[in-house]
Amino acid sequence: MDLIASLYTGSGYWNPLVWLIAIVVVFVIVYLIWSRGESGYKKGTLQTTPFISGNPEPEKSGVHVPGGNLYWGYTEALKGYYSRLVPLHTGRLNDYLLWYLGVTAIIMVVVVVTA
């Protein structure tokens, strides 16, 4: 069995093992660059604390961002799209069924007309 078989996609190929080797090489280069850096910083001093314009560092649990606040800008920007899409999900059983029947009718018309 050819374990390193490439995946041919018609216009190219994909071989994850080659990709992994490339990633490893990149990481080796990154490590080499990183290891040449300055290692003489002092632990426990201001050098290792975050710099927030001189303000005191806030409590850890106070800076947690809950999931609901993420992508606020994205939903705000696409408000026109979401204000139409979300109300379609009414949660009414009858609406679910009407959508299904409606789609069946549309497909029926398309198939029968073009046949």
Partner: protein, 524 residues
């Protein structure tokens, strides 16, 4: 020899073992819970072994035909029947075998997970009975070569699924989800029965191969085709008939949600079987292909955009399941749209279909894994609300690793399996219609964005005081997730092997209608 007998009867055993185990479960459960767990796991291991044995047989020596109640399993056409199969025939070709492998791997890891994850609930005998019935339903649906039998297994599957969705009543909300799912799937199954009745009236047969060999594509056949496409499309959760999916997926116990993904894909298999094996070139390939492509694109876009603002983690994942189903519909729809045109089929049609089919197995693995991790988190902290989670990466390291594997796979990041199938879909669909391919890539980016949000809000951030003493999920749950994660990584590392040995035969089996017919009818 006994092994020969087992291999010869494996299509029947595949359905028989879960059925016997299911019906005996109430008795076994009275002995002790431990014995019941061993019984259920043993039955599932045997079923998975049968599925793998049968798949090995199919991939090495071609389609397996098993006739119930005949004097020999291969005797699908009795000598005195006038040349038509009169009995129920299981026809297991490469596509069916692929679906069986999916059912076997997912089913086994789910049952291991369930033993720890649902330990605290009552009525577990019924739970496992219904679960094994679901397995039997999936296995039967993908194996059968008889349309009415397909309907029966479909109903077995939806009745047991509905029971399990409502299993954790949860102040009635789970029952609401189950009612919505069950009303829709009952209507869908009955509409399929109308189509089956039309076929019976027209061609005097219920066997898929016989109907396929007599197919005329008259007006009645067109009506039957539309009824089947709409009903099976609804059952696999294609937009705009997807409304039941987030309700049912979010309210079912997590292990059952992972199985519901497989159940949806069995419906998807039914859709492909109807379109390719039953009709094949007789239908208007471009029109029907484009209908499936449009359903797929709508599913991809609406699914992922609805997922991003969700706050319930399982509901979010359910919308992603819809979106991923869109990829499968897109890939196979492109293959269908160029069916009958051999040069286009060779240029990109096969690759698109292989991408879509490969995505089915990949999706079952990583989506199952993601639902199981969501269940493990729910098991430990008792909420699914993303706003109330945070910092769990400190306490649940293994769960976090499994979640990351699943999330990267669904977002199509190399080297995981989602990337391989999505790459095949992108490149082949680009040759068909560049715009579709670009939409698919944008959807993939949005998927990644959405899972970054989920990852951040569940695992990242400081350790929250209310979850300070949360423990890692128990070992059997981790084993169940581990099996799926291992498959995700393996399929991602060796996609060439999987495509050559599993996916390509499946795509060929779908396109090559003549081979399916001659396997059942013999000769010709």
């Amino acid at each position: 020899m006994i092994t020969d007998a087992i291999i010869a009867n494996s299509p029947a055993l595949l359905v028989m073992i879960p059925l016997i185990a299911a019906f005996a479960c109430p008795f076994i459960g009275r002995i002790s819970p431990a014995v019941r767990n061993i019984w259920v796991v043993g039955a599932m291991v045997l079923t998975a072994a049968m599925a793998l044995l049968l798949a090995g047989e199919v991939f090495s020596s071609g389609t397996v035909v098993y006739t119930f109640g005949a004097s020999a399993p291969g005797m699908s056409v009795p000598p005195d029947s006038g040349g038509i199969p009169v009995r129920i025939v299981f026809t297991v070709d490469a596509m069916s075998a692929l679906m069986q492998i999916i059912g076997a791997i997912t089913g086994l890891s789910i049952v291991l997970y369930s033993i720890a994850g649902d330990r605290r609930h009552t009525g577990l005998e019924s739970y496992y009975t219904l679960y094994l019935l679901m397995i039997a339903g999936v296995m039967g649906m993908v194996s059968t070569g008889d349309l009415f039998n397909f309907f029966v297994f479909l109903e077995i599957l939806s009745i047991s699924s509905a029971g399990l969705i409502a299993y954790r009543i949860d102040r009635g909300v789970a029952v609401e989800a189950a009612v919505k799912y069950f009303v829709l799937s009952t209507i869908g199954a009955m509409v399929i029965l109308v189509a089956i009745g039309i076929f019976y009236g027209e061609y005097d047969a219920l066997n898929i191969a016989v109907i396929a060999s007599r197919m005329q594509f008259t007006l009645l056949d067109q009506v039957a085709l539309v009824l089947m496409i709409a009903a099976l499309g609804m059952k696999c959760g294609a937009v705009p008939m997807h409304f039941w999916t987030p309700d049912a997926y979010s309210m079912a116990p997590s292990s059952i949600t992972a199985m519901l993904v497989v159940a949806s894909q069995a419906s998807l298999y039914g859709l492909f079987r109807v379109v390719f094996t039953l009709y094949n070139v007789t239908l208007n390939a471009a029109t029907v292909g484009w209908i499936i492509i449009v359903l797929g694109v709508l599913s991809m876009v609406v699914g992922v955009t609805m997922a991003i603002p969700q706050k319930d983690v399982k509901r979010l994942m359910a919308y992603h399941a819809i979106s991923q189903t869109g990829y499968m519909l897109l890939g196979v729809g492109v293959g269908l749209a160029v069916l009958g045109n051999q040069s286009l089929l060779d240029a990109f049609g096969y690759v698109a279909m292989e991408g879509g089919i490969f995505h089915i197995i990949n999706h079952a693995m990583y989506k199952g894994l993601l639902f199981l991790t969501a269940g493990a988190i729910f098991y430990r902290i008792g909420t699914r609300n993303l706003n109330r989670m945070g910092g769990l990466g400190h306490n649940m390291k293994y769960t976090m690793v499994f979640f990351v594997i699943g999330a990267l796979a669904i977002a199509g990041i190399p080297p995981f399996n989602g990337f391989a199938s999505k790459l095949m879909i992108y490149e082949s669909v680009f040759m068909f219609n560049p715009i579709l391919s670009i939409i698919a890539m944008v959807v993939s980016i949005l998927t990644l964005a959405s899972f970054v949000k989920v990852f951040h809000s569940i695992f990242m951030g400081p350790r929250l005081p209310e979850y300070a003493d949360v423990k890692e999920a128990p070992a059997p749950m981790l084993i169940g997730m581990g099996i799926l994660a291992a498959v995700v990584v393996l399929f991602g590392l060796f996609p060439g092997v999987v495509v050559d040995h599993l996916i390509e035969p499946a795509a060929q089996a779908l396109v090559n209608q003549g081979a399916y017919i001659s396997a059942v009818m013999g000769g010709a």
